[in-house]
């Protein structure tokens, strides 16, 4: 069994969770004896049994792979959609389902971006919330959807309890609009809550970054460039008083899981992903209003020293790889 991993967002253009997920998955699969290669688009002699596409793929590529006898697995991140309200999902369903069910010629259907979920042999998601979207909105047969969590590196899993000696909250991740870094930094100033942001922007020339960096004063808002080693990151996390994330939406959030494993109490957006993963073990931002947010942030900051970190199982990448390997095997057996 040989797996070809592919992704349409090159790592040199966008760092982040997807890169970690792909690299860790590949390493873990190899450790348990599964042959994995990154797809080399220029190499016409490269062979494989399964094309595992991480992220959305053009339907024609999936069709092409299948016509060559490969099975296609697709890990899709429904980051925004899995956090939509039921009403938003219903409206989407009203638009999408008739289009997918319409008796359109194959050439036209291939142009519908959602058609690829039906063309792929196996859909893979990280959350039950994402599985629900695939089933209800896109009508994908639940037997073709596997929910496979993301793993966590051993260093985080064995980080141990955090001393939490710092006076600041910590927020890790790309500095950008998706993470709401700017409103969070403004809120930190408005409430005089010390914050340490760890991460880098996609673009140092962007207006967003320039505005954000104006708020970095080294006292209330501190900034630490993206760290390169896990131990350095663990040290930064464990020194903090608590962890905060204010993203517009997330699906799994490796960063939040790393913080939880490092023993930090957490303040997270009140969304499906966070409720599914952390339930009542963390604090949540209010749904609306800057004043309410300021109040909750102050309360969280004040209570932090007495708050426990979430207690949960953090799967290793090897556990994830083992589950994935089962899915691959089942997929290949289907054909024979």
């Amino acid at each position: 069994m040989k797996i070809l991993l592919n992704c349409n967002v090159p790592f040199l253009l966008a760092h982040g969770g997807a890169q970690i997920q792909i690299e860790q998955t590949k390493a873990a699969l190899e450790k348990i004896g599964v042959e994995v290669e990154y797809l080399r688009w220029w190499d016409d002699s490269q062979k494989g049994d399964i094309l595992h596409h991480i992220g959305w793929s053009e339907p024609w590529l999936v069709k092409l792979a299948r016509s060559k006898g490969l099975k296609v697995a697709m890990t899709i991140l429904l980051t925004a959609q899995c956090n939509y309200s039921s009403w938003q999902l219903f409206k989407r369903k009203l638009l999408i389902r008739p289009a997918l069910a319409a008796p359109l010629p194959d050439s036209l259907k291939t142009k519908l971006e959602w058609w690829v979920y039906h063309l792929s042999d196996q859909m893979i998601v990280g959350l039950e919330a994402e599985k629900m979207v695939l089933e209800k909105v896109y009508g994908v047969d639940e037997r073709r959807i596997a929910v496979i969590p993301l793993g966590l590196a051993e260093a985080y899993r064995h980080a141990g309890p955090a001393p939490r000696t710092g006076d600041h909250l910590i927020c890790s991740g790309t500095i950008g609009p998706a993470k709401n870094s700017l409103p969070l930094a403004k809120l930190a100033h408005a409430t005089s809550t010390p914050f340490l942001f760890v991460g880098k922007p996609f673009d140092y020339e962007s207006a967003y970054w320039r505005e954000f960096s104006k708020l970095v004063d080294g006292k209330t808002v501190k900034h630490h460039q993206h760290v390169s080693t896990q131990n350095e990151m663990i040290a930064l996390l464990q020194k903090a008083r608590g962890y905060t994330l204010m993203s517009v939406s997330e699906n799994w959030s490796l960063a939040a899981h790393e913080a939880a494993a490092c023993g930090l109490p957490m303040l997270l957006p009140d969304q499906r992903w966070s409720r599914e993963r952390f339930g009542n073990m963390v604090s949540y931002w209010p749904k609306k209003g800057p004043e309410a947010c300021a109040r909750v942030l102050k309360e969280f900051y004040a209570k932090c020293p007495g708050l426990p970190p979430p207690k949960m199982h953090f799967p290793s990448w090897e556990e994830v790889a083992a589950t994935l390997s089962t899915v691959y095997t089942r997929l290949l057996n289907k054909s024979s």
Binding site: P10, F11, L13, D43, L64, S67, K68
Partner: protein, 336 residues
């Protein structure tokens, strides 16, 4: 100057003209002193000054690349659009404008139209496609450049031999190329036809129908698969009575250029790409489902071929590389 070539259609899944174009362009650019790397999507440390994308780049990738300080060159083959009738193109243009005025560029992300506006340069293979880029997709005219395909020296320097009785057609056996229709017309017109190529997949039912027809008429249809040796392929063009390509759509057929380099008379579909490139130097056949009409054009060409003048010789890949080098240098000097 380092250029990163990127294409999201893996060569292991689809052979054909695009692969040859990319490989030959890369080799030739290196010969004229331009450093070219294939973009390794999994390599976060890879660096480049220019991202040369073959296809229609997702707008978010264009923005990310530019955010990293790279210039973006986009080379899409407008094969389908380039073969449409003027009335259809006009209609599409209006629909494009209506759609965009309602939803804005962001609302049209699935079509990636915005990339034409974002790219630092757009490369078209023919003047017709260059016109389409501005007419259909609003690419700024000053950013659109026509850089055709080149031809390998093995074809340009091939020696003249006595021409035989077979017409030759070098192509992928797929519906778009209308090989089955061409073969049916050849049987009808009793003009011997040698088809050189292969299907994308052995299981393709269209290709299977063609193979079946070829088996029934071995005296008129010769099909032995592809010729991988370029010297032998050049010999095949040199020995052919004429070259025929009656595709429903083309961008700039490499095989037609190769045949032209071998001084072979050409019969091509009456489509804008062919008219733009070859003008009156070749023969044309309408794209029609009427086999007897196609057969009549084929017979007329077959009879006339020995006395037809050869088309003009195409450019070499080194010529093309020099054109691209000038383009890259210009793009690097331009501020956005």
């Amino acid at each position: 100057m380092r250029v990163l070539f990127y294409c999201q259609c893996p060569f292991s899944l689809a052979h054909g003209g695009l692969q040859i174009q990319i490989e030959q362009t890369r080799n030739a650019l290196e010969k004229v002193g331009v450093e070219v790397d294939y973009l390794r999507w999994y390599d976060g440390a890879q660096k480049g000054d220019i991202l040369h994308f073959f296809g229609r780049l997702a707008p978010e990738l264009a923005t990310l690349a530019q955010g990293k300080g790279m210039k973006v060159v986009m080379a899409e083959l407008l094969t389908e659009q380039g073969s449409r009738r003027p009335g259809i193109l006009r209609l599409q243009r209006y629909l494009f404008r209506i759609w965009r005025s309602i939803l804005g560029y962001r609302g049209t992300d699935i079509f990636r139209w915005e990339s034409y506006r974002l790219a630092d340069a757009c490369v078209a293979l023919t003047a017709h496609e260059a016109w389409l880029m501005t007419y259909q997709f609003d690419a700024p005219p000053e950013k659109v450049h026509v850089v055709p395909n080149g031809v390998e020296d093995v074809f340009l320097q091939s020696k003249s031999v006595t021409r035989g009785n077979w017409l030759v057609c070098t192509t992928t056996v797929t519906e778009r190329k209308r090989i089955l229709e061409l073969a049916e017309a050849a049987v009808h017109a009793k003009t011997p036809l040698w088809v050189i190529g292969r299907a994308y997949a052995d299981s393709d039912p269209y290709a299977a129908r063609f193979v079946e027809l070829a088996k029934r008429h071995p005296d008129l249809i010769r099909f032995d698969g592809p010729i991988r040796d370029r010297i032998l392929l050049a010999e095949a063009y040199r020995q052919a009575r004429g070259f025929v390509l009656l595709s429903a759509m083309e961008s700039l057929s490499l095989s037609a250029l190769e045949a032209a380099a071998c001084q072979c008379p050409l019969l091509l579909s009456d489509l804008p790409w062919a008219k733009t490139v070859f003008r009156d130097s070749v023969s044309y056949c309408p794209v029609t489902p009427d086999i007897s009409r196609t057969a009549s054009a084929l017979r007329k060409f077959y009879d006339a071929a020995p006395n037809l003048p050869p088309p003009a010789k195409p450019l070499t890949w080194i010529d093309i590389a020099n054109q691209l080098k000038t383009l890259y240098e210009g793009v690097l000097k331009t501020s956005r």
